[in-house]
């Protein structure tokens, strides 16, 4: 366990951080430096304000296919929204300051309750919708024929992350103070929680982060670029 803790908790995170940051910087630099052609799709935005509204609207609501591909929208919109909420919720697991901010409007018990119920609910919704997205890859012929090992693999990796994360919440007594202490001394080589489920969860998360700049998860930063290209006509 000690070896795993050192590898996953004190060595790999620095590799992950380097790969993620350098990979994204490299990728974004390439996109930013590339020539831009007018490929506007109408009706398009004719000024900056319209462009921002259009792109943010698309990204927030997945509006391009909300009306016309309800089957996908019902799975993927809750999936992405819950992942975002989970990501925000993890700030509380990693740092103490979110509790201090929330403490301005609610008491410590209320914060714990919110974390338990809201955090628990989004964890389950994310897991269920992830399973649904994986299932459609094998069930829908038009999706099946274009799915590769990568498409399935990423969803399985996300499933692993969600299952271990939900496991930590629902089946172990997880003390956020331990992980907060770890992240507070992260750059000084602080000791990671010895919980094996945590280490597994953390390992899967790091795999995902290292993969992000090189595979289909690039749609997370890329969608802002591509939607802006189609929306812009000025």
């Amino acid at each position: 366990m000690q070896t795993l803790e050192i590898l996953i908790g004190r060595v790999l995170p620095f590799v992950t951080l380097a790969v993620l940051v350098l990979g994204l910087v490299w990728r974004l630099r390439r996109w930013n430096r590339a020539a831009v052609a007018n490929v506007a799709l109408y009706p398009a935005a004719s000024n900056r304000r319209e462009l921002i509204e259009k792109v943010l609207g698309e990204v927030a609501w997945f509006s391009s296919f909300r009306q016309d591909n309800r089957e996908l929208w019902r799975k993927t919109w809750p999936f992405h929204v819950t992942l975002l909420v989970i990501l925000i919720g993890h700030l509380r697991v990693m740092f103490a300051w979110p509790d201090r901010v929330l403490g301005l409007v609610m008491g410590p018990e209320a914060i714990d309750k919110l974390s338990l119920w809201a955090g628990g609910a989004v964890g389950i919704v994310a897991l269920v919708t992830c399973v649904m997205l994986l299932t459609r890859r094998f069930v829908l012929p038009r999706v099946k024929e274009i799915s590769s090992s990568e498409d399935v693999g990423v969803l399985i990796l996300l499933l692993c992350i969600l299952m271990t994360g939900n496991g930590l919440r629902f089946f172990t007594h997880y003390d956020v103070n331990v992980s907060r202490a770890y992240f507070a001394s992260f750059f000084l080589g602080g000791e990671a929680p010895q919980n094996p489920l945590f280490l597994l969860h953390f390992f899967f998360v790091q795999l995902l982060l290292m993969y992000l700049p090189f595979g289909k998860l690039l749609h997370i930063p890329g969608v802002f670029y591509s939607k802006a290209l189609l929306a812009k006509d000025y």
Partner: protein
Amino acid sequence: MSEPSAVNEATLRKVIDQVTAIKNGPRVLQLYMDLCAKCGTCADQCHVAQSNPEARVNPAARSDLIRGLYKRYGSSWGKVLKALGTARDISADEVETWARDFYECSGCRRCAQFCPFGIDNSILTRKGRAIVHALGKSPYMMSETQRVSDETGNDEGQSYAAFVEACRFLCEEVKDEFGYDVEIPIDRTGTDILFIPASADLISFPETHMGVAIFFEKLRQLDGTTWTMASTAFDGANFGLFTGDDPHMMRKNQLAHDACIRLGVKTLVIGECGHAYRIAKRLGPTASKNKNPYKTINIFNLADDYLQKGAFTFDTSKVQHSVTYHDPCNFARSTGIFEEPRRLLQAMVSDFREMTPNRTKNWCCGGGGGLAVMDGPEKVAKLNGTFLDARMRAGKKKLEQIQATGATYLAAPCANCKRQLMQLMDHNKTGVKTGGVFDLFMEAIVM
């Protein structure tokens, strides 16, 4: 140029070089290599995929023809990506069928309208076609039309004498049928407008051009607006957009630009031709917003301006049809012409019926991307049947839309759409007449 040739090592190398050039290519292509998450939305929204269950017509699968090679040869992780199933080795067999595969997409951009990631597969289709063209494997009609166009300045290969004669004949037809004296001026300097249609309007769809001549005569009567056509640039059609041959696209559009300068016009007006307008407005030398001493607009913009001022009086009883409107992809999704033709039609006819879906979500006729002019196998390897077969199959969604309106006249202001839809209506014995918007202007206008 289009003769099938053996695919050898040098050819494969050429393909790989062109694909990996995307690494330093425009942002849009780089993004499309990186972003697709294979959600399948494009297949649901593609008229070709909806009419053909084969996996290869799935837009994401077609784009993967390029993406798979880009990932294999454009990345130092190519072999790893191959193991993950997102990259693959090039094969002679697949390159042999690229002409078929990339010409099964009509480039209508409907998939881009719905794609969660903002991927416009038509841009990758055009990249694929550009590679096919560079290999000398474009369908015969495509490369032959470009050759004729480069030789004569127009896709139909009309001579100066034939052009002048066609214009004279159409003026006589207007006189005979409606009793109006109209003129189609040629090479007149100092006019307000240079008008460029698709040259097919002069031969295949003369009613549209007659309607345009009456329209300009009406403008002359209203406020003295003058117009001309140019003997050196009377064809806005431009197959460079379809084949991915940028130099050809620029050469052809340069003719229009040069004519505008030579004749000293204030405005270039493009007629009922979607892709001609897209190039003139967005892609070619005539598209420069700030440098050109003339502006580039479409005939619907012009007509709508006058309509809004109440300049026209129409006798709607003269149009004996219930009319529906087909949004050509290059007018609607690619240049934003949505309401202008509708307002005209609603003013001209008493029974206008909207088809569903419409505007940005309109289904392609099945003849876009230059497909409408191809009937035979066009020397394309492993094509299943003819292009006509494929087009009639791909028109299924459009056919359903049109029939649901119960309209007897289908207004389709684009030479490609007109040809495809005329054939589609005949093929399915619908009895629906297909024509332009200005065909109806000719009938309904009170001079």
